[in-house]
Protein backbone atom coordinates (compact mmCIF):
# COMPACT_ATOMS: atom_id res chain seq x y z
CA UNK A 1 0.00 0.00 0.00
CA UNK A 2 1.45 3.33 -1.07
CA UNK A 3 1.47 5.78 1.81
CA UNK A 4 3.63 8.42 0.12
CA UNK A 5 0.64 10.57 -0.83
CA UNK A 6 0.01 11.16 2.88
CA UNK A 7 3.52 12.40 3.57
CA UNK A 8 3.26 16.06 2.40
CA UNK A 9 0.02 16.66 4.33
CA UNK A 10 1.35 14.98 7.49
CA UNK A 11 4.63 16.93 7.23
CA UNK A 12 2.85 20.25 6.73
CA UNK A 13 0.45 19.68 9.62
CA UNK A 14 3.38 18.52 11.79
CA UNK A 15 5.40 21.63 10.88
CA UNK A 16 2.45 23.91 11.77
CA UNK A 17 1.99 22.15 15.11
CA UNK A 18 5.70 22.51 15.91
CA UNK A 19 5.49 26.22 14.98
CA UNK A 20 2.49 26.60 17.29
CA UNK A 21 4.32 24.88 20.14
CA UNK A 22 7.33 27.17 19.63
CA UNK A 23 5.17 30.29 19.57
CA UNK A 24 2.89 29.32 22.48
CA UNK A 25 5.45 28.09 24.98
CA UNK A 26 5.99 30.15 28.08
CA UNK A 27 8.82 32.68 28.07
CA UNK A 28 8.44 33.96 31.62
CA UNK A 29 9.18 37.59 30.77
CA UNK A 30 9.65 39.79 33.76
CA UNK A 31 7.75 43.04 33.91
CA UNK A 32 9.91 46.02 33.09
CA UNK A 33 11.31 44.34 29.98
CA UNK A 34 11.26 47.71 28.21
CA UNK A 35 13.72 49.19 30.66
CA UNK A 36 15.87 46.03 30.46
CA UNK A 37 16.05 46.32 26.70
CA UNK A 38 16.83 50.02 26.81
CA UNK A 39 19.39 49.57 29.58
CA UNK A 40 21.06 46.75 27.63
CA UNK A 41 21.45 49.01 24.65
CA UNK A 42 22.89 51.85 26.67
CA UNK A 43 25.27 49.42 28.37
CA UNK A 44 26.46 47.97 25.07
CA UNK A 45 26.94 51.48 23.66
CA UNK A 46 29.24 52.33 26.53
CA UNK A 47 31.04 48.98 26.15
CA UNK A 48 31.70 49.62 22.48
CA UNK A 49 33.02 53.08 23.16
CA UNK A 50 35.26 51.72 25.92
CA UNK A 51 36.71 48.85 23.88
CA UNK A 52 36.65 50.36 20.42
CA UNK A 53 40.31 51.41 20.54
CA UNK A 54 41.48 47.94 21.66
CA UNK A 55 39.40 46.21 19.02
CA UNK A 56 40.69 48.57 16.36
CA UNK A 57 44.23 47.86 17.55
CA UNK A 58 43.65 44.09 17.61
CA UNK A 59 42.32 44.11 14.07
CA UNK A 60 44.67 46.67 12.50
CA UNK A 61 46.67 45.55 9.46
CA UNK A 62 49.79 47.55 10.44
CA UNK A 63 49.93 45.84 13.82
CA UNK A 64 49.64 42.42 12.22
CA UNK A 65 52.31 43.20 9.60
CA UNK A 66 54.71 44.43 12.27
CA UNK A 67 54.21 41.32 14.43
CA UNK A 68 54.64 39.04 11.42
CA UNK A 69 57.86 40.72 10.37
CA UNK A 70 59.30 40.83 13.88
CA UNK A 71 58.16 37.51 15.28
CA UNK A 72 58.36 35.12 12.34
CA UNK A 73 55.89 32.71 10.75
CA UNK A 74 54.86 30.88 13.92
CA UNK A 75 53.88 34.06 15.73
CA UNK A 76 52.07 35.37 12.62
CA UNK A 77 49.95 32.20 12.56
CA UNK A 78 49.11 32.53 16.24
CA UNK A 79 48.22 36.18 15.83
CA UNK A 80 46.03 35.48 12.80
CA UNK A 81 44.15 32.78 14.72
CA UNK A 82 43.64 35.09 17.66
CA UNK A 83 42.50 37.97 15.44
CA UNK A 84 39.97 35.69 13.79
CA UNK A 85 38.63 34.58 17.16
CA UNK A 86 38.21 38.20 18.21
CA UNK A 87 36.50 39.10 14.95
CA UNK A 88 34.03 36.18 15.21
CA UNK A 89 33.18 37.14 18.78
CA UNK A 90 32.81 40.73 17.71
CA UNK A 91 30.34 39.92 14.93
CA UNK A 92 28.32 37.91 17.48
CA UNK A 93 28.34 40.90 19.84
CA UNK A 94 27.21 43.19 17.01
CA UNK A 95 24.32 40.83 16.39
CA UNK A 96 23.42 41.06 20.07
CA UNK A 97 23.39 44.87 19.85
CA UNK A 98 21.30 44.79 16.70
CA UNK A 99 18.71 42.58 18.37
CA UNK A 100 18.58 44.70 21.49
CA UNK A 101 17.71 47.61 19.23
CA UNK A 102 15.11 45.51 17.38
CA UNK A 103 13.62 44.45 20.71
CA UNK A 104 13.39 48.04 21.84
CA UNK A 105 11.53 48.85 18.61
CA UNK A 106 9.10 46.00 19.30
CA UNK A 107 8.51 47.13 22.86
CA UNK A 108 7.71 50.63 21.70
CA UNK A 109 5.30 49.23 19.09
CA UNK A 110 3.66 46.92 21.63
CA UNK A 111 2.95 49.79 24.00
CA UNK A 112 1.89 52.33 21.39
CA UNK A 113 -1.77 53.14 20.78
CA UNK A 114 -1.21 52.91 17.01
CA UNK A 115 1.47 51.36 14.82
CA UNK A 116 2.33 51.72 11.14
CA UNK A 117 2.38 48.44 9.22
CA UNK A 118 5.14 49.60 6.83
CA UNK A 119 7.50 50.51 9.66
CA UNK A 120 6.88 47.20 11.39
CA UNK A 121 7.46 45.31 8.15
CA UNK A 122 10.64 47.29 7.50
CA UNK A 123 12.03 46.26 10.89
CA UNK A 124 11.16 42.64 10.20
CA UNK A 125 12.92 42.61 6.82
CA UNK A 126 15.94 44.47 8.22
CA UNK A 127 16.23 41.89 11.00
CA UNK A 128 16.07 39.00 8.53
CA UNK A 129 18.68 40.65 6.28
CA UNK A 130 21.01 41.41 9.17
CA UNK A 131 20.76 37.90 10.57
CA UNK A 132 21.62 36.39 7.18
CA UNK A 133 24.48 38.79 6.47
CA UNK A 134 26.07 38.59 9.89
CA UNK A 135 25.97 34.78 9.72
CA UNK A 136 27.61 34.90 6.30
CA UNK A 137 30.33 37.26 7.54
CA UNK A 138 30.88 35.02 10.54
CA UNK A 139 31.13 31.94 8.31
CA UNK A 140 33.63 33.71 6.04
CA UNK A 141 35.70 34.71 9.05
CA UNK A 142 35.72 31.15 10.33
CA UNK A 143 36.80 29.91 6.91
CA UNK A 144 39.56 32.52 6.79
CA UNK A 145 38.05 34.35 3.81
CA UNK A 146 37.29 37.69 5.48
CA UNK A 147 39.37 40.86 5.59
CA UNK A 148 39.58 41.56 9.32
CA UNK A 149 40.30 45.33 9.43
CA UNK A 150 37.03 46.18 7.69
CA UNK A 151 35.07 45.12 10.75
CA UNK A 152 36.13 48.36 12.38
CA UNK A 153 33.74 50.28 10.11
CA UNK A 154 30.82 48.34 11.57
CA UNK A 155 32.09 48.71 15.12
CA UNK A 156 32.24 52.51 14.69
CA UNK A 157 28.63 52.59 13.67
CA UNK A 158 27.46 50.50 16.62
CA UNK A 159 29.41 52.66 19.05
CA UNK A 160 27.81 55.77 17.60
CA UNK A 161 24.41 54.10 17.69
CA UNK A 162 24.70 53.23 21.37
CA UNK A 163 25.82 56.70 22.36
CA UNK A 164 23.24 58.61 20.31
CA UNK A 165 20.31 56.50 21.33
CA UNK A 166 21.27 56.82 24.98
CA UNK A 167 20.20 60.47 25.02
CA UNK A 168 16.85 59.66 23.40
CA UNK A 169 16.27 56.76 25.79
CA UNK A 170 16.92 58.86 28.84
CA UNK A 171 14.07 61.13 27.89
CA UNK A 172 11.86 58.24 26.84
CA UNK A 173 12.63 56.25 29.98
CA UNK A 174 11.30 58.96 32.24
CA UNK A 175 8.05 59.20 30.28
CA UNK A 176 7.64 55.47 29.86
CA UNK A 177 8.52 54.24 33.36
CA UNK A 178 5.09 54.91 34.80
CA UNK A 179 3.31 53.46 31.77
CA UNK A 180 5.28 50.20 31.53
CA UNK A 181 5.49 49.05 35.13
CA UNK A 182 1.96 47.60 35.15
CA UNK A 183 1.15 43.87 35.43
CA UNK A 184 1.13 42.01 32.12
CA UNK A 185 -2.45 42.37 30.92
CA UNK A 186 -2.73 39.13 28.93
CA UNK A 187 -1.69 36.89 31.82
CA UNK A 188 -4.89 35.50 33.24
CA UNK A 189 -6.89 37.88 31.10
CA UNK A 190 -9.86 36.66 29.17
Amino acid sequence: MNLLFLLPVFLLVGALLVLFWWAARSRRNAPGQFQQSAAGLEESGRRHVTHCAQIRQALSRADFEYLSAAGGRELARKVRRERRRIAVAYVAALRGDFYRLVRLGKMIAKLSPEVVALKEFERLTLSAQFLWRSRMVQARLLLGMAALPQLVAVSDLVSLLGVRIEAALKELGERAAAAVETPHPSIGAA
Binding site: L6, V9, F10, V13, L16, L17, L19, F20, W22, A23, A24, S26, R27, N29, L101, R103, L104, G105, K106, I108, A109, K110, L111, S112, P113, E114, V115, V116, A117, K119, E120, E122, R123, L126, Q129, F130, R133, M136, V137, R140, M145, A147, Q150, A153, V154, L157, L161, A168, L172, R175, A176, A179, V180, T182, P185, S186, I187, G188, A189, A190
Partner: protein, 261 residues
Protein backbone atom coordinates in the same frame (compact mmCIF):
# COMPACT_ATOMS: atom_id res chain seq x y z
CA UNK B 1 -30.65 4.15 15.00
CA UNK B 2 -30.02 2.08 11.90
CA UNK B 3 -26.50 2.29 10.43
CA UNK B 4 -24.61 3.69 13.42
CA UNK B 5 -22.32 1.34 15.32
CA UNK B 6 -22.97 1.16 19.07
CA UNK B 7 -19.44 2.40 19.91
CA UNK B 8 -19.85 5.43 17.66
CA UNK B 9 -23.23 6.18 19.19
CA UNK B 10 -21.74 6.04 22.70
CA UNK B 11 -18.92 8.41 21.66
CA UNK B 12 -21.39 10.78 20.11
CA UNK B 13 -23.53 10.78 23.25
CA UNK B 14 -20.47 11.34 25.43
CA UNK B 15 -19.35 14.25 23.28
CA UNK B 16 -22.83 15.77 23.46
CA UNK B 17 -22.94 15.35 27.24
CA UNK B 18 -19.55 17.07 27.62
CA UNK B 19 -20.62 19.94 25.38
CA UNK B 20 -23.95 20.44 27.15
CA UNK B 21 -22.30 20.51 30.58
CA UNK B 22 -19.59 22.90 29.35
CA UNK B 23 -22.12 25.24 27.74
CA UNK B 24 -24.27 25.12 30.89
CA UNK B 25 -21.21 25.86 33.02
CA UNK B 26 -20.17 28.79 30.79
CA UNK B 27 -23.63 30.35 30.89
CA UNK B 28 -24.30 29.59 34.58
CA UNK B 29 -21.03 31.14 35.73
CA UNK B 30 -21.36 34.02 33.21
CA UNK B 31 -17.99 33.07 31.78
CA UNK B 32 -19.62 33.18 28.36
CA UNK B 33 -19.01 36.95 28.45
CA UNK B 34 -15.26 36.25 28.51
CA UNK B 35 -15.45 33.56 25.80
CA UNK B 36 -18.51 34.48 23.68
CA UNK B 37 -17.07 32.83 20.54
CA UNK B 38 -16.47 29.47 22.20
CA UNK B 39 -19.78 29.53 24.12
CA UNK B 40 -21.96 30.17 21.07
CA UNK B 41 -19.91 27.80 18.91
CA UNK B 42 -20.56 24.98 21.40
CA UNK B 43 -24.22 25.96 21.68
CA UNK B 44 -24.64 25.75 17.89
CA UNK B 45 -22.78 22.40 17.96
CA UNK B 46 -25.27 21.04 20.51
CA UNK B 47 -28.19 22.27 18.39
CA UNK B 48 -26.60 20.61 15.35
CA UNK B 49 -26.35 17.30 17.25
CA UNK B 50 -30.05 17.47 18.17
CA UNK B 51 -30.95 18.28 14.57
CA UNK B 52 -28.82 15.41 13.24
CA UNK B 53 -30.31 12.96 15.74
CA UNK B 54 -33.74 13.89 14.43
CA UNK B 55 -32.62 13.50 10.78
CA UNK B 56 -30.94 10.12 11.35
CA UNK B 57 -33.95 8.85 13.30
CA UNK B 58 -36.28 9.94 10.55
CA UNK B 59 -34.38 9.03 7.36
CA UNK B 60 -31.67 6.63 8.57
CA UNK B 61 -27.96 7.24 9.01
CA UNK B 62 -26.97 6.22 5.48
CA UNK B 63 -29.76 7.94 3.56
CA UNK B 64 -29.06 10.73 1.06
CA UNK B 65 -31.36 13.32 2.75
CA UNK B 66 -29.66 12.71 6.12
CA UNK B 67 -26.25 13.09 4.51
CA UNK B 68 -27.29 16.38 2.87
CA UNK B 69 -28.79 17.67 6.09
CA UNK B 70 -25.57 16.78 7.94
CA UNK B 71 -23.35 18.69 5.49
CA UNK B 72 -25.75 21.66 5.33
CA UNK B 73 -25.80 21.90 9.12
CA UNK B 74 -22.01 22.24 9.02
CA UNK B 75 -22.35 25.75 7.52
CA UNK B 76 -23.53 27.55 10.71
CA UNK B 77 -21.11 25.46 12.78
CA UNK B 78 -18.15 26.53 10.64
CA UNK B 79 -19.34 30.15 10.79
CA UNK B 80 -19.44 30.00 14.58
CA UNK B 81 -16.01 28.36 14.68
CA UNK B 82 -14.59 31.22 12.59
CA UNK B 83 -16.06 33.64 15.15
CA UNK B 84 -14.59 31.61 18.03
CA UNK B 85 -11.10 31.78 16.45
CA UNK B 86 -11.43 35.53 15.86
CA UNK B 87 -12.58 35.92 19.44
CA UNK B 88 -9.44 34.12 20.57
CA UNK B 89 -7.35 36.73 18.68
CA UNK B 90 -9.33 39.51 20.36
CA UNK B 91 -8.78 38.10 23.86
CA UNK B 92 -5.04 37.70 23.23
CA UNK B 93 -4.24 40.99 21.50
CA UNK B 94 -6.97 43.52 22.34
CA UNK B 95 -5.12 44.97 25.37
CA UNK B 96 -2.44 46.27 22.97
CA UNK B 97 -4.48 48.57 20.77
CA UNK B 98 -1.70 49.40 18.27
CA UNK B 99 -0.65 45.78 17.76
CA UNK B 100 -4.29 44.64 17.64
CA UNK B 101 -5.01 47.20 14.89
CA UNK B 102 -2.19 45.73 12.83
CA UNK B 103 -2.91 42.09 13.70
CA UNK B 104 -6.58 42.02 12.78
CA UNK B 105 -5.79 43.46 9.34
CA UNK B 106 -3.08 40.85 8.73
CA UNK B 107 -5.27 38.01 10.04
CA UNK B 108 -8.28 39.22 8.02
CA UNK B 109 -6.14 39.36 4.88
CA UNK B 110 -4.71 35.89 5.53
CA UNK B 111 -8.15 34.47 6.38
CA UNK B 112 -9.77 36.01 3.28
CA UNK B 113 -7.02 34.66 1.03
CA UNK B 114 -7.37 31.16 2.51
CA UNK B 115 -11.18 31.17 2.30
CA UNK B 116 -11.04 32.44 -1.29
CA UNK B 117 -8.54 29.70 -2.13
CA UNK B 118 -10.88 27.17 -0.47
CA UNK B 119 -13.83 28.35 -2.57
CA UNK B 120 -11.84 28.25 -5.81
CA UNK B 121 -10.51 24.74 -5.21
CA UNK B 122 -13.68 23.24 -3.74
CA UNK B 123 -14.68 21.59 -7.04
CA UNK B 124 -18.14 21.14 -8.54
CA UNK B 125 -21.22 19.32 -7.34
CA UNK B 126 -22.75 19.00 -3.89
CA UNK B 127 -20.83 15.79 -3.14
CA UNK B 128 -17.48 17.52 -3.69
CA UNK B 129 -17.98 21.12 -2.65
CA UNK B 130 -19.10 20.78 0.97
CA UNK B 131 -16.47 18.20 2.14
CA UNK B 132 -13.66 20.01 0.25
CA UNK B 133 -14.75 23.37 1.60
CA UNK B 134 -14.94 21.85 5.05
CA UNK B 135 -11.34 20.61 4.96
CA UNK B 136 -10.07 23.86 3.41
CA UNK B 137 -11.66 25.76 6.27
CA UNK B 138 -9.92 23.43 8.70
CA UNK B 139 -6.63 24.44 7.03
CA UNK B 140 -7.67 28.08 7.44
CA UNK B 141 -8.32 27.55 11.16
CA UNK B 142 -4.90 25.92 11.69
CA UNK B 143 -3.03 28.62 9.72
CA UNK B 144 -4.87 31.46 11.47
CA UNK B 145 -4.15 30.12 14.96
CA UNK B 146 -0.48 29.47 14.18
CA UNK B 147 -0.14 32.96 12.59
CA UNK B 148 -1.80 34.53 15.63
CA UNK B 149 0.61 32.89 18.07
CA UNK B 150 3.67 33.64 15.92
CA UNK B 151 2.54 37.28 15.77
CA UNK B 152 2.10 37.37 19.55
CA UNK B 153 5.52 35.83 20.07
CA UNK B 154 7.12 38.38 17.77
CA UNK B 155 5.88 41.14 20.08
CA UNK B 156 6.62 39.13 23.23
CA UNK B 157 2.98 38.87 24.27
CA UNK B 158 2.57 35.96 26.67
CA UNK B 159 -0.71 34.05 26.18
CA UNK B 160 -2.46 32.95 29.37
CA UNK B 161 -2.92 29.24 30.07
CA UNK B 162 -6.64 29.50 29.24
CA UNK B 163 -5.88 31.00 25.81
CA UNK B 164 -3.33 28.26 25.13
CA UNK B 165 -5.81 25.50 26.02
CA UNK B 166 -8.50 27.09 23.86
CA UNK B 167 -6.17 27.43 20.88
CA UNK B 168 -4.83 23.90 21.34
CA UNK B 169 -8.40 22.56 21.34
CA UNK B 170 -9.20 24.18 17.98
CA UNK B 171 -5.82 23.23 16.58
CA UNK B 172 -6.12 19.59 17.64
CA UNK B 173 -9.57 19.16 16.13
CA UNK B 174 -8.76 20.96 12.86
CA UNK B 175 -5.40 19.19 12.36
CA UNK B 176 -7.02 15.87 12.97
CA UNK B 177 -9.84 16.70 10.55
CA UNK B 178 -7.27 17.52 7.83
CA UNK B 179 -5.39 14.23 8.32
CA UNK B 180 -8.63 12.29 8.58
CA UNK B 181 -9.92 13.80 5.35
CA UNK B 182 -6.66 13.08 3.50
CA UNK B 183 -6.82 9.41 4.46
CA UNK B 184 -10.56 9.27 3.73
CA UNK B 185 -10.11 10.64 0.22
CA UNK B 186 -7.85 7.73 -0.70
CA UNK B 187 -9.57 4.88 1.13
CA UNK B 188 -13.13 6.09 0.95
CA UNK B 189 -14.82 2.71 0.91
CA UNK B 190 -12.83 1.06 3.68
CA UNK B 191 -12.22 4.04 5.91
CA UNK B 192 -15.43 5.98 6.26
CA UNK B 193 -16.71 4.18 9.41
CA UNK B 194 -13.40 4.75 11.17
CA UNK B 195 -13.42 8.35 9.87
CA UNK B 196 -16.51 9.18 11.89
CA UNK B 197 -15.12 7.51 15.02
CA UNK B 198 -11.76 9.32 14.78
CA UNK B 199 -13.50 12.63 14.10
CA UNK B 200 -15.69 12.24 17.19
CA UNK B 201 -12.71 11.16 19.31
CA UNK B 202 -10.63 14.19 18.34
CA UNK B 203 -13.59 16.47 19.01
CA UNK B 204 -14.04 14.88 22.43
CA UNK B 205 -10.37 15.59 23.20
CA UNK B 206 -10.85 19.20 22.09
CA UNK B 207 -13.90 19.60 24.35
CA UNK B 208 -11.76 18.32 27.26
CA UNK B 209 -9.14 21.00 26.47
CA UNK B 210 -11.85 23.68 26.39
CA UNK B 211 -13.05 22.36 29.74
CA UNK B 212 -9.55 22.97 31.13
CA UNK B 213 -9.59 26.48 29.65
CA UNK B 214 -13.04 27.27 31.08
CA UNK B 215 -11.92 26.25 34.58
CA UNK B 216 -8.98 28.65 34.57
CA UNK B 217 -9.59 31.77 36.65
CA UNK B 218 -10.51 34.77 34.56
CA UNK B 219 -9.79 38.41 35.09
CA UNK B 220 -11.40 41.35 33.42
CA UNK B 221 -9.79 42.22 30.11
CA UNK B 222 -7.73 45.31 30.79
CA UNK B 223 -6.03 47.58 28.37
CA UNK B 224 -2.25 47.87 28.76
CA UNK B 225 -0.95 51.27 29.79
CA UNK B 226 0.17 52.87 26.59
CA UNK B 227 3.10 55.13 25.82
CA UNK B 228 2.32 58.61 24.53
CA UNK B 229 1.34 58.47 20.85
CA UNK B 230 4.27 60.57 19.57
CA UNK B 231 6.97 58.26 20.98
CA UNK B 232 6.29 55.60 18.35
CA UNK B 233 6.24 58.13 15.54
CA UNK B 234 9.48 59.77 16.69
CA UNK B 235 11.58 56.80 17.79
CA UNK B 236 10.54 54.06 15.37
CA UNK B 237 11.81 55.81 12.20
CA UNK B 238 14.99 56.65 14.13
CA UNK B 239 15.51 53.03 15.19
CA UNK B 240 14.70 51.74 11.71
CA UNK B 241 17.14 54.22 10.16
CA UNK B 242 19.90 52.99 12.44
CA UNK B 243 19.07 49.38 11.77
CA UNK B 244 19.19 50.11 8.05
CA UNK B 245 22.58 51.87 8.33
CA UNK B 246 23.97 48.96 10.29
CA UNK B 247 22.65 46.59 7.67
CA UNK B 248 24.16 48.62 4.82
CA UNK B 249 27.54 48.73 6.53
CA UNK B 250 27.45 44.99 6.98
CA UNK B 251 26.43 44.54 3.34
CA UNK B 252 29.32 46.72 2.18
CA UNK B 253 31.67 44.70 4.34
CA UNK B 254 30.27 41.49 2.90
CA UNK B 255 30.50 42.76 -0.70
CA UNK B 256 34.05 43.99 -0.17
CA UNK B 257 35.03 40.54 1.07
CA UNK B 258 33.31 38.90 -1.87
CA UNK B 259 35.38 40.96 -4.32
CA UNK B 260 38.66 39.79 -2.79
CA UNK B 261 40.54 37.15 -4.79
Amino acid sequence: MVGIARFELVLWGLSLLFQVTLVTYLFATRKWRHYPGLSFYLLVNVLQSVFLYYCYARWGFLSIPAKRAAWASQIPVLGMRAWAVLDLSRVLLKPYSGIWGLAWRILALLGSALVLGSLLTAGRGWQQIVPNLNVSLEWTTVCMIVALFVFARNYEIEPSLAIRWLALGFLLYSSFAILNHTVLRHWLARYWVAWNVFGTLSFLASVCLWWSAAFQPVEELQRASMLPRDIYHVLTPEINLRLRSLNERLLRLFNAEAKQP
